[in-house]
């Protein structure tokens, strides 16, 4: 003890401490984003709800084991009961199974169309930014022309031309949606290319491949993930509207929008036919929105407070 006291005023052994040591461990951008997302209970809950909805949309129709395709007028408009958990519709089909089947189609359309939109927009935007000059001008003009009509109308026209059905609907939804992504990607790449750290990395001799892999993609990826998450609800809306108007799908194919349309017709006497698909649709969109918000908070370091 005494000896320690004596040594108090001796020079410390500097080799034992590293002046550069950082007390907190460094964590990467994605780790940090994931940590933030995990802290957001609501976003986690919405993710759980989405997983449940996904699973139910796959196995839901099989659970009740009831018929949901053939017309059986003798059991139409049954109230909820033991055999038909949520009752039957105006043609005697099991509503429970139809709900999940309709949800399945809405989810497929939304996820596929949103992914395609991001992919097309990303490629288009990158091409614009990279080629520049006349090509950029022409491609940008095309985007502007497309943006000069509300895109649901473009979708309508394309559906008129292609006819109703799964594939035309999918095609029509993603062919019109990508312009915002393309603009965003183009803007981001141009901005990044002008940014000083990319110039610095190029000045230090990084190859353009390295610049793309190390800087452009990571800095654009979070934007794209956000874009994907936020566009899904909109595509679900559009699909619902089109199907409701009877333009998207042809019977016997159906989605939540078709169910809504049938629900409107039955709503005076069987309000549940309108209520169930409405609730399911809202729950789906709400979950996507909350998850999207959570992702934005997690991915955008500028919003940290």
């Amino acid at each position: 003890m005494n000896s320690l006291e004596d040594k108090r005023f001796e020079l410390a052994d500097q080799s034992k401490f590293d002046a550069d040591e950082v007390v907190r461990p460094n964590i990467s951008y994605w780790q940090d984003a994931w940590r933030r997302l995990k802290k957001n209970k609501l976003a986690l809950l919405s993710m759980a709800v989405l997983i449940v909805l996904f699973v139910m949309s796959i196995i839901g129709p099989a659970i009740s084991g009831q018929n949901y395709t053939t017309l059986m007028p003798e059991i139409k408009n049954l109230p909820p009961g033991r055999t038909y958990w949520l009752g039957t519709d105006y043609l005697g089909r099991d509503l429970f199974s139809r709900l999940w089947k309709g949800l399945r189609f809405s989810i497929i359309v939304a996820v596929v169309a949103a992914s395609l939109k991001v992919l097309i927009g990303c490629i288009y935007g990158a091409v614009m930014a990279y080629l520049g000059g006349l090509v950029d001008d022409v491609m940008m003009r095309i985007v502007e022309v497309l943006n000069s009509i509300p895109y649901l109308i473009v979708t309508l026209i394309i559906l008129v031309v292609l006819g109703n059905g799964y594939l035309p609907l999918l095609f029509a939804l993603c062919i019109t949606n990508w312009t915002s992504t393309a603009r965003m990607v183009r803007g981001q790449i141009l901005k990044l290319r002008e940014s000083e750290y990319i110039m610095a990395s190029a000045a230090l001799g990084a190859s353009s491949g390295r610049v793309i892999v190390r800087h452009l993609i990571p800095n654009t990826l979070s934007l794209l993930i956000l874009d994907l998450a936020t566009s899904i609800p909109y595509i679900i809306f559009d699909e619902t509207v089109l199907s409701f108007l009877g333009i998207g799908l042809q019977p016997p194919a159906f989605s939540l929008g078709t169910l809504l349309s049938a629900g409107q017709e039955a709503m005076a006497f069987y309000p549940s036919h309108l209520l169930y698909p409405s609730l399911l649709l809202c729950l789906l969109v709400l979950s996507f929105n909350i998850l999207g918000d959570g992702l934005r908070d997690a991915l955008d370091p500028q919003l940290r407070d």
Partner: protein, 319 residues
């Protein structure tokens, strides 16, 4: 400024020309249109005659030239196939006021309430009121207008809660003003999404502005919170709000497509959808052009507003 507007109008005309052309050829590619289904049951000779009468026997390019000529000379795309003698322009007179009134009511309600809620949420950030607005906006934004329309129609019309009519729209003298009981539900149905969208946007954009250094300067002058918001934050945070104006108009237009259908309102949206469903080519072409014209004009107005709100942007001196 005048020069800028002239240039923009020219650009707009080119854009519109491209849209009309593209739409025309897309529609020409449809295997069957209103005409083919209308005459399907008639004898062959009569069919040919009718097709000739509407000019569908000619090659596409020739039809295109005729259509464009008609557009320039008469300002129209020709007669409806479904209702002979009717043109889009004629219908516009009766149907446009309906849609315009519905849209204005939706914008007034949605945008003003939305911005107000957003300002309240930003100023009282962290409070229960803020959280309430946040949750409310989240739920509203997640309820498709279509669902809101249907639920309103089911639960607020004709009975249980309110004695509002399920469908219909004021006519005659009340076309522009009055007959409110018809317009309440469609207006609310269409404006909910705007309330949600604008309150969220306003709040984010106000917070962004509040976090800027110049707000700190304003605070260092000893201004009160209300003065800071009124004099410094609002104008700067309106810049992003103006940017979404075209989106708003676009969603009003697309919203009218199904809201008018749900509430059986005799407006442009329903008319257009009917034309699309029956493949009434001239009307679809005219309607599409009409929507494009409105969108393009909105964009021009947005750019001009931009220059007014943000002194750093000099209209006409860009690029």
């Amino acid at each position: 400024m005048a020069r800028y507007i002239v240039r923009r109008v020219l650009e707009m005309l080119i854009t519109l020309f491209l849209i009309v052309t593209a739409t025309f050829f897309l529609l020409a590619a449809i295997p069957g249109n209103a005409l083919t289904s209308k005459i399907a049951k008639l004898p062959q000779t009569v069919q040919t005659k009718i097709i000739e009468k509407y000019g569908y026997d000619k090659p596409v390019v020739q039809r295109y030239v005729i259509t464009m000529k008609g557009l320039i000379v008469k300002g129209d795309f020709g007669e409806s196939i479904i209702r002979p003698g009717e043109t889009f322009a004629k219908n516009l007179k009766a149907k446009l006021p309906v849609t315009v009134r519905l849209s204005i009511q939706q914008i007034l309600l949605g945008v003003t309430v939305g911005i107000l809620l957003g300002i309240i949420a930003a100023m009282k950030r962290g409070s229960y009121l803020d959280k309430l607005i946040l949750v409310g906006a989240m739920i509203l934004v997640s309820m498709p207008s279509l669902v809101i329309s249907l639920l309103l129609q089911k639960y607020c019309a004709n009975g249980d809660l309110f004695k509002l009519p399920i469908i219909g729209w004021p006519k005659g003298k009340e076309l522009w003003f009055g007959g409110w009981k018809y317009t309440i539900l469609p207006t609310i149905a269409g404006s909910c999404s705007f309330i949600a969208y604008y309150s969220r946007l306003t709040k984010t954009s106000m917070l962004e502005s509040i976090n800027q250094e110049y707000t700190l300067t304003a605070r260092s002058k000893g201004l009160s919170e209300v003065q800071i918001v009124k004099n410094h934050v609002v104008r700067n945070s309106f810049i992003p709000i103006i940017t979404v104006l075209p989106t708003t108009v676009a969603s009003i237009l697309t919203g009218s497509l199904f809201i008018e259908r749900v509430f059986s309102i005799p407006g442009m949206g329903r008319y257009y959808i009917e034309a699309v469903q029956t493949r009434d080519i001239p009307i679809v072409l005219a309607g599409t052009t009409f929507y494009a014209v409105i969108t393009v004009i909105t964009m021009l107005i947005t750019d001009i507003l931009y220059g007014i709100v943000d002194p750093r942007i000099k209209i006409g001196a860009r690029k």
